[in-house]
Structure formats: structure tokens, C-alpha cells
């Protein structure tokens, strides 16, 4: 047992009704890079937060180097030699590198005493692990890659022997990611144990020694990386689910309704989220965008819907251009026939404190049929809401109930009813069945097909590959902000999985 750095036994954790980790067992060997892979929401981050003392497990044991420990807070985690590099950096932006590294490990009450020691220690670490960074630079002035390096230095400075990295490449450019991997190799060579959380298969294959796969809160398998294949991992990750076959006929694509040309979106930090994306959606077809969450699909949807500014590119709606880079007006887009079911219904698509009927007009509240002059026509609004409730079988059938009191599936139906019943030309849908019960899923899928058969152009984004495959007429795969390939829905899961993992895409791009 001497070579085990971390052992988890029967870790179990729930947040209210969400069972995030189910009876997790895991062994991580010393001096190795151990990957933990799984789709978004599989429970990877929760598990690691438990290991770092950010949350307490409901049940289970943690052993570090064979000794059972109780990790109550990050302090205990640090004291047993665990360090963590968070997905969202835990750095103070207007502090220097040195100050960030010292924070919480200052040695003495007066900074000056420790500061030179810290500086020297930082120098030593920089040399030992090839982690150059100017200790006096302000964090906010550093590029993301260097900020991450500071996070690693923070952990090393606290003498961490076990380093957890949570989705470390999510914000990095490919070059920066390659550099990170070289650093991790270096750390491993020095005897550190590294746990790498990711949803990118390519990274797992490139640098891990062992890999554990999580799916829906469970640890489903552990493999030696050399002895497994991308295909096997992809399958383990997604699972052999019963494919929800949706009855649908042949698509009859008509005119181009939505044309996206060279669309590029950068986030507030200047990181490119959508990178020169072009595609078309025709009337009477469903174009699905597959991809692991965080590869730019959300930003793409938001840019098309006019709630996020694009850096460059053009969008044509019904042949007329939409100002995606300048003045954006979602209300105007609605008037021009675009309907949008947003990914996040809790914060964007609905106002949870509103009555159902009030949410049924969100975004369409300027429509004269809901108004008497400047006044809301409450009767018309409620009548309209009741019709939709009946048509979409929303339960409980009460237009005056607060939206927060509906189940996830019924909330989603409220949004769908609102957007679909307008008879839009173009419907863009994000994560139509996220957090939706099985019964509602089938209903929602049917409605989406109906929209297509009525001649609407449908753009569908989902992280559920099954959903994309069973609904779409064409599938575009996004990886790292780019469309890396187009496939027909008949393409195998493995083939799509490789594209989503950025493996095939690289070859294609190179070849």
C-alpha cells in the first residue's frame, strides 16, 4: 500500500435532491498522473472539492499516503500535502504574483520578514520546475497561461505533493496547453502526484498514466492509459444508453433561413470562445451542434440571439443581416422571426419569481395582443398562457403559480411553448432537456421535430450526444471554439466522440 498517495473509500455526497457523488472508490498511485474524465455534471469537480476540503462528504473515508484523514477545510488539505488548481483561478487580480503566492502562507505577521524568503523559494521553484514568471507582475496584467502557472506555484509553495488540476486547459490556447503538459511531466519526474480532471480525451491519452471514468456521479472504471483506447474511454464516458429513437421522416430542406459567416466571439478576458464559425440552417431541417460543454456552443448561441457581442463575422436572418458586432437588440430579432430557447432557463429563459403567465410573455411583452396601450392585458395574457398550458400539457395547469414551483420539465415546457407558439422562422435551442424528467424529454423531442416538419429552421445545441443524434438532420461538431467537422446523424458514437475530443479534428485540420 506504500505507493498509494490518495485513496477514497465510499465517498457519497448529495446537494438537496442532486446526488453528485455515489459511493466513489478511487486509488491514485504516488508519482503518477491520474486522469479523471467524465462529461459535464458527472461529479468530477464535486469529488475534488471534497478532497480539498471545500465540501464535506456525507459518507466515506479519505486516506492520504495510507493514513486516514478528515479534511474539514482547505487548511487541512494543505497540511496533508494536497494542492489544488481551480478551474476559475483563485487569484487576487490586483496583487502581485509574489503576494498571491504568499497569501495564507506568509510565515510571520510582518510581511517583510518572509518576503525575501518567499522570493527565494519562488526562484527555486521556478528553476526546479521551469515555471518562470515575474514575481512582481500584477496578476491582472498576466495572460491566462501565466496566471495558471501562479496557481501551480501557489500549491508548490505550500509544499503540496499531490496536485489536483480542475479542467486546467479550458482557458488555454493549444500552445499554452502543451506547455502545461510539459510542466506536469516535470512535476511528475520530481515525484509529485497529479490528479488531472478533464473532459478532453486527447489530454488523457497524452499525459496520464492511469485514468478513471465518472458518469452521472459514479466511478465507472479505472484503466491504465497505455492499455486503453480513446474509443473505449469515450464509450465509458457516455455510456451505452438506450437511444431515445424519435419517430421522424425525411427532412425536406428549403431555403437558407439562418446563415452564419466567420463568427468570432471573445469573452471579457479576451479569450476566443467562438473561432471563425460558418454554417447555414435551412428551412425544414434540424442542425445539431455537438460538443463537450465549454467548447463555445453557448457563446455561439448567445451571439446569434443578440445577447452577447460578437467580435467579428456576419449573421443573416431570412437573408437580411443582423448586427451581431454592434447594437444588438433581442426584441428586434424576435420580431424578425428568431426564437431562442436559452440554455440556462433558471437565470435567462425564465424569471423564477414570476407567475407562469408572466413568463409566458417574456420577451414578447411588447406584442400588442398582450397590451391595452401601455397596460398589460391580464385577461389576454392569462388566456394565452392557459392555452399553452393545455397544448403543452404543463403541470400543474395553473397560470398563476410561481414559476419556481414547477418541475424542471414543466419549466422547460413553459419556455418552449412561448418560443415555439410564435411560429418563428428560425428556432435556436440550447440544452432542450437539461434537468428535465424522462417523460417530458419525449414530448419536447416530438415538438422539435414538429417544428422542423412545419418548415422551421432549427439550430440545436446539446451536450447530450444521443439527443443530437436522434434529432438532427446534420451534425456539426464544435471543439475549442471551432467547427471541426460535419457528420450525418448515422455517424457512429465513437466517430463523433473522437471529433468532440478534438482528436480527429486535428488530423482533419492538418490533412
Amino acid at each position: 500500500m506504500d505507493d498509494i498517495a490518495i485513496e477514497l473509500r465510499g465517498i457519497d455526497k448529495s446537494f438537496g435532491l442532486v446526488h453528485a457523488n455515489k459511493d466513489i472508490n478511487l486509488k491514485v498511485r504516488k508519482g503518477t498522473i491520474h486522469g479523471i474524465i467524465g462529461e459535464n455534471g458527472a461529479g468530477k469537480s464535486t469529488l475534488m472539492s471534497i478532497l480539498y476540503g471545500f465540501y464535506q462528504a456525507d459518507r466515506g473515508e479519505i486516506l492520504v499516503c495510507g493514513k486516514q484523514v478528515s479534511i474539514r477545510d482547505p487548511n487541512t488539505a494543505i497540511s496533508v500535502g494536497i494542492g489544488m488548481v481551480h478551474q476559475h483561478f483563485m487569484l487576487v487580480e490586483n496583487f502581485t504574483v509574489l503576494e498571491n503566492v504568499m497569501l495564507g502562507a506568509e510565515d510571520s505577521q510582518i510581511l517583510n520578514k518572509g518576503i525575501n524568503k518567499a522570493r527565494q523559494e519562488l526562484k527555486r521553484l521556478e528553476k526546479e520546475y521551469a515555471l518562470e514568471v515575474n514575481p512582481d507582475a500584477l496578476i491582472e496584467e498576466l495572460p491566462v497561461g501565466l496566471q495558471q502557472r501562479v496557481e501551480i506555484l501557489k500549491a508548490l509553495y505550500r509544499r503540496a505533493d499531490i496536485l489536483i488540476l480542475d479542467e486546467p486547459t479550458g482557458v488555454l490556447t493549444p500552445a499554452e496547453a502543451d506547455h502545461l503538459f510539459r510542466i506536469l511531466g516535470q512535476l511528475k519526474a520530481q515525484g509529485k502526484t497529479i490528479i488531472l480532471i478533464t473532459h478532453k480525451l486527447r489530454e488523457i491519452m497524452a499525459i496520464t498514466d492511469e485514468v478513471s471514468v465518472m458518469r452521472r456521479g459514479e466511478m465507472v472504471a479505472t484503466r491504465t492509459t497505455r492499455e486503453t483506447t480513446v474509443e473505449e474511454l469515450a464509450e465509458l464516458m457516455v455510456g451505452r444508453r438506450v437511444l431515445l429513437r424519435v419517430q421522424k421522416g425525411e427532412a425536406k430542406p428549403g431555403d437558407v433561413k439562418l446563415a452564419v459567416q466567420g463568427l468570432t466571439v471573445k469573452d471579457s478576458r479576451g479569450v476566443t470562445m467562438v473561432d471563425d464559425v460558418s454554417f447555414e440552417v435551412r428551412a425544414g431541417e434540424i442542425v445539431g451542434i455537438a460538443g463537450v460543454a465549454g467548447n463555445g456552443q453557448s457563446e455561439l448561441l448567445e451571439a446569434i440571439a443578440g445577447i452577447r457581442r460578437a467580435t467579428s463575422g456576419t449573421v443573416l436572418l431570412n437573408g437580411r443581416s443582423v448586427d451581431v458586432t454592434g447594437h444588438r437588440d433581442p426584441a428586434e430579432l424576435r420580431a424578425r422571426g428568431l426564437a431562442h430557447v436559452p440554455e440556462d432557463r433558471h437565470h435567462v429563459g425564465l424569471v423564477l419569481k414570476f407567475e407562469e403567465s408572466e413568463n409566458a410573455i417574456l420577451g414578447y411583452h411588447n406584442d400588442p395582443r398582450y397590451l391595452n396601450g401601455v397596460f398589460l392585458d391580464i385577461d389576454a395574457i392569462r388566456k394565452d398562457a392557459e392555452e399553452k398550458i393545455a397544448k403543452y400539457d404543463i403541470r400543474p395547469p395553473n397560470a398563476r403559480l410561481k414559476t419556481a414551483n414547477f418541475s424542471g420539465g414543466n419549466q422547460q415546457k413553459i419556455v418552449l411553448a412561448r418560443e415555439m407558439e410564435r411560429g418563428p422562422d428560425v428556432l435556436i435551442i440550447g440544452q432542450p432537456t437539461r434537468g428535465v424528467d424522462v417523460g417530458a424529454i419525449e414530448f419536447i423531442h416530438k415538438r422539435i421535430i414538429e417544428m422542423r416538419d412545419q418548415g422551421k429552421a432549427v439550430l440545436l445545441v446539446s451536450v447530450e450526444l444521443d439527443e443530437i443524434r436522434s434529432l438532427s438532420d446534420r451534425i456539426l461538431v464544435m471543439f475549442a471554439g471551432r467547427v471541426v467537422g460535419e457528420r450525418s446523424p448515422e455517424a457512429s458514437e465513437g466517430e463523433l466522440g473522437l471529433l468532440m475530443a478534438g482528436v480527429e479534428g486535428r488530423k482533419e485540420a492538418a490533412g
Binding site: G16, A305, I307, P330, H347, V348, G349, F354, F375
Partner: protein, 377 residues
């Protein structure tokens, strides 16, 4: 995830929780009364008696309530759009200019019913103007509305001292106030309203602006729950991201909401200026803008809650005067303490007793379930 507390029945949420908070505020106030060596129950008696004991007292209570309805509504309207307008005090003060100008201009030649509408317009205009700038600065320049409105309270105070000592003061007078208005600048009392109940209003300045306050409360209800603008304000207040999705322009709503809020605060000036003093004096607002915060918090930003909350504060102000008269060691400043305690317990600490109440209800629910089970078995 987004609801840290379990759901409670409506009557608990909107009735019991605020009442518990209010009760604690009064308990602590009672302790203060004990501390100065007086009997809290006696104080409570004088409070109630002083507020309701005679028609005249009731008139005073409602006179104060009128003022607080306006300022409470002002704060509430901003709350609905997610804005904290702490500048009601300054907006009401500046709103007085509009009232004074209308009265000074026409009081000698026109009857009150001509002057009053103009004074309303004037008060709304100046109050809205004073709120427009902070709103605009937040919408366009990103300055925090709380800080800006605090600063504007002080700027208003200086401005008004200047105007009252240099500009609006009649020649030869020493007091920093306008001249006393003629008939046209004096609002009729609502003696007939009280006499329906067999009460005599006496010298109480209970005037027609009370009806305006009730109308304003109704107007705010209509605005918030029955107009497109109110819908947009509430959307923004609950969820700025949903508002963006719905194509609602944040900067436009911020500015408009602040102007409505300021207009309502400005209307407050009608009550003391045209209803009681018949002239504009220094510091006529007397902290009513801040009382509005307590009223809005207690009334949960709903006109139906604001009116009773404003009356409660009317009781405190009027009954407090009675306490001060009967119990010399308790001055009217007691009201200020209670007001602060209400803001503390109904506002900043509103969730302090919620876990306990929630637990109590969970236990009751369990027991009920157990009973059902036992019956089933």
C-alpha cells in the same frame, strides 16, 4: 440551489415572518424604555392612546402616514427594479421647490384646486429631476446609485438652504422660509372624512393629499403589476440576465425607474408645505425619506403592505409625541430608535428568524405526516 431557505406557506412568508421581525424590533425598543427607567407597557399605552385616542390624534396619525406612503412608495418602486434609492430625503426636499413655486405664483389669484394640480406637477418634476441624475450616472457611467443618492441628499440640503436664505425668502424676513401662502396655497382638510366616523379632526393637518397618497399607492400597484413598464422593471429587478434576454434595456429602465421613484418622493412635499405649514421651511422633510426605507422594507414593497406600514409609522410619530408629553424621560427620538430597529430586523436581519420558523414548520409537517401514517396503520 438558488433558494437557500425552504419554501414557506404564503401567510407565513408575508405575514408571520415580518410580524416576528417587527415584534423583536419592538421588544428591543421596550428594553430601551426599561433602560431609561420607564415602564414599556405604559409607554405602549400612551403610544396607542396618543395615536388613536381622539379624532384629532387620528388626524395627526394619518397626516404623518400620508407623508410616509409617498416616501415608502418611492423606495419600493426602485426596489422592484433592483435599485436602492436612498435619496428619497433629498428628492422630497427638492420636490418642495415645485410646490413652493406653484403656490408663490398663483396662491393669491387662484383657488386651491387650480394650484394643487400644478403643485403636484411641480413636485414630481423637481423630485424626478433630482433622481434623474443618479439614475443616469448609474446607467451611463456606472457610478453606484447608493453612494450617489447619499451624496445628492447632502447636495440637496445645501441647495435648499441656499434657496431658502437667498432666493425664496421674502425681503426683510429673517427666517429661512418662503412667505406664508394665501388661500390658494392651502389644501382643504379632510374633516368630512373623519366626521363620517363621528370624529373631529380638530387642529390636525390631515388634508387632501392623503387621498392623493392613496391614489399614488393604487397608481404604483397598477404601474408595477399592470403595465408593460412595470413588467420590465420587475424582470430587471429579479433577473438582469433574463431582462437582457427579453430585450429590455437596462439603462433605460434604470433612468425611468429612478425618475418615478424621485417623483413619488417629491410628492411628499405637498403634505407638509400645502397641508400644514402653508410655506416652505428649512428641513421640512424631517427624515421622512429615510422612514420610507423602513416602510418599504416592512411593506415588502407592495402598496398593500406600504399603507399599513406607513400608518404604523404615523402611529409612532403621533403616539411618540404623546409619550414624550406624558413621560418626560422619553423624547420623540424614541421613534428614531424604533425606526432603526425596524430597518435592522425587517431589513438587514430579515432572515435571522427564518431558519427557526422553517424548522418549526418542518416539524409540524412531520408530525402531521406521522399522524396521517398512524391513521393509515
Amino acid at each position: 440551489m438558488s433558494t437557500p431557505y425552504a419554501k414557506l406557506p404564503g401567510w407565513v412568508e408575508y405575514g408571520l415572518v415580518p410580524l416576528v421581525n417587527l415584534a423583536v424590533a419592538f421588544l428591543v425598543a421596550g428594553l430601551v424604555v426599561l433602560l431609561v427607567g420607564e415602564n414599556p407597557l405604559e409607554a405602549a399605552y400612551h403610544l396607542i392612546n396618543g395615536a388613536f385616542g381622539r379624532g384629532e390624534y387620528i388626524g395627526f396619525t394619518l397626516y404623518y402616514a400620508t407623508t410616509f406612503i409617498f416616501t415608502g412608495l418611492a423606495v419600493a418602486v426602485a426596489f422592484h427594479a433592483g435599485l436602492f434609492n436612498i435619496g428619497g430625503e433629498g428628492q422630497a426636499y427638492v420636490g418642495g421647490i415645485g410646490v413652493a413655486l406653484a403656490c408663490l405664483w398663483l396662491d393669491k389669484v387662484m383657488p386651491w384646486y387650480v394650484v394643487f394640480p400644478l403643485a403636484i406637477l411641480g413636485s414630481v418634476f423637481f423630485g424626478a429631476l433630482w433622481a434623474f441624475l443618479p439614475g443616469w450616472l448609474q446607467a451611463k457611467r456606472g457610478s453606484h446609485i447608493v453612494i450617489t443618492t447619499i451624496m445628492f441628499n447632502f447636495i440637496a440640503s445645501s441647495l435648499m438652504v441656499y434657496l431658502l436664505t437667498r432666493v425664496l425668502k421674502p425681503l426683510g424676513s429673517m427666517a429661512p422660509q418662503t412667505r406664508t401662502f394665501a388661500e390658494g396655497g392651502q389644501l382643504p382638510k379632510l374633516d368630512w372624512l373623519l366626521s363620517i366616523f363621528g370624529l373631529d379632526v380638530g387642529t390636525a393637518p390631515f388634508n387632501i393629499s392623503f387621498l392623493l397618497a392613496l391614489a399614488a399607492a393604487f397608481g404604483v400597484w397598477v404601474l408595477i403589476w399592470r403595465t408593460r413598464l412595470g413588467y420590465e422593471m420587475r424582470t430587471m429587478g429579479h433577473s438582469p440576465s433574463a431582462a437582457r434576454y427579453a430585450g429590455i434595456r437596462e439603462s433605460r429602465i434604470t433612468v425611468i425607474t429612478m425618475m418615478i421613484s424621485g417623483g413619488l418622493a417629491g410628492m411628499m412635499a405637498l403634505n407638509p408645505i400645502m397641508g400644514e405649514q402653508f410655506r416652505m421651511q428649512l428641513d421640512f422633510v424631517q427624515g421622512a425619506g429615510f422612514v420610507g426605507i423602513a416602510v418599504a422594507l416592512m411593506g415588502r414593497s407592495h402598496p398593500g403592505g406600504i399603507i399599513p406600514a406607513a400608518i404604523l409609522f404615523g402611529v409612532l410619530y403621533q403616539g411618540g409625541a404623546e409619550i414624550a408629553f406624558e413621560m418626560p424621560s422619553i423624547s420623540r427620538d424614541m421613534i428614531v430608535i424604533i425606526q432603526g430597529l425596524v430597518i435592522l430586523f425587517a431589513g438587514a436581519l430579515e432572515n435571522m428568524f427564518r431558519p427557526a420558523i422553517t424548522r418549526a414548520f418542518a416539524m409540524r409537517g412531520q408530525r402531521a405526516a406521522a399522524v396521517v401514517q398512524a391513521k393509515g396503520a
